[in-house]
Symmetry: C2
Subunit: 202 residues, 2 copies
């Protein structure tokens, strides 16, 4: 059984224990003849895969009433992997989703590291600093780098810990956020865990 | 006595009870012959005013050791107007500064409404929503507009109220934030209050 999580730039495969990526631009999905269970946020790829019988879109097996219509399928499936916890997917956006007793309670969207850095820089060149992830979260800043780092990180931190749930980090920037959430577990295969859960009940 | 707060685009004057603005591009400071006490974040204007005897820069009377070297003079002076409180200046950036017993405790910088809106939009057209300031802050969102509104506003809200201090709102977007901080006082002359305090002790 092959699993595949398709984003805007790549196909992310899990074949047994081995995971690997292929570029959306160059990969030809007809080159795989085995069954592939996939989810995709890429509508162009979705359209292409709709005609391939061995590519099975797991989105059709999800009861979206438990989530909401415009919620990214990747967020939905990552949330399904969790029984009790708060999932932080730190990518181009940071999505934060709360699950209690396997029920999705809601979630929010925060800008990712790169987007937020550009945001500060666009306001003023005087705010063009990289974020300090080893910032002291207990002390109000008295320098510019920490003032923007605190604005970005402490506000998010306070909201996340207020839910008092186990924290699961995933996504490309997960290791950065591990610094401010040392109690969190990083799980880069969370989406595949969610996909397996869906498959186990269909 | 005329007071003037100079930003990147305008001179903001207070002459008695009357306040008015003049454009940085068109206003000629030599047209005023009375004494003007000013602060300025505009280095080009600063250079021009340095040669005019009747324009008195209040920055030179401030002990910056109580603040920090790169802190905007407008934040410093607004903080000086407050004895105990948290000052939210909601402009192109949102600066949040904490003052206790007239001592500056530190502060942070968060993106302003317009910058944050552009930030979400730049991540994905799917995040191009206006912010919902009448969002229910007690409930995790289950729709896209509230998901980004919560990301922007609830995180800031939680941090601000955690300090348990009177909230003073100022800046062009103050009225928007009054919706999520109904207990706050709006004071659009906070900087002038701070300037008067400096003048009273020099």
């Amino acid at each position: 059984m092959i699993l595949c999580d398709i984003g805007n730039t790549s196909y992310h495969f899990l074949d047994g224990q081995r995971d690997f990526k292929e570029s959306v631009n160059s990969f030809n999905p007809t080159s795989i003849t085995k069954e592939v269970y996939y989810i995709s946020v890429n509508s162009a790829v979705n359209e292409q895969l709709r005609h391939l019988e061995n590519w099975i879109n797991l989105a059709s097996f999800i009861d979206m009433d438990k989530y909401y219509a415009t919620m990214g399928i990747d967020r939905v499936v990552a949330s399904m992997a969790v029984e009790d916890g708060i999932v932080i997917d730190a990518g181009s956006a940071i999505t934060v989703d709360v699950v209690k007793d396997s029920v999705f309670m809601g979630g929010f969207i925060y800008p990712g590291v790169r987007a937020m850095s550009a945001c500060y820089k666009n306001i003023s060149p005087a705010l063009d600093y990289s974020f300090n992830f080893s910032l002291d979260l207990e002390t109000l800043p008295k320098n510019s780098q920490d003032a923007i780092s605190y604005g970005f990180l402490k506000t998010l931190h306070r909201e996340v810990i207020s839910h008092n749930l186990p924290i699961i980090l995933t996504g490309g920037d997960a290791t950065f956020f591990k610094e401010i959430f040392p109690q969190a577990n990083i799980n880069q295969k969370l989406i595949f865990d969610g996909m397996k859960k869906i498959i186990s009940i269909i």
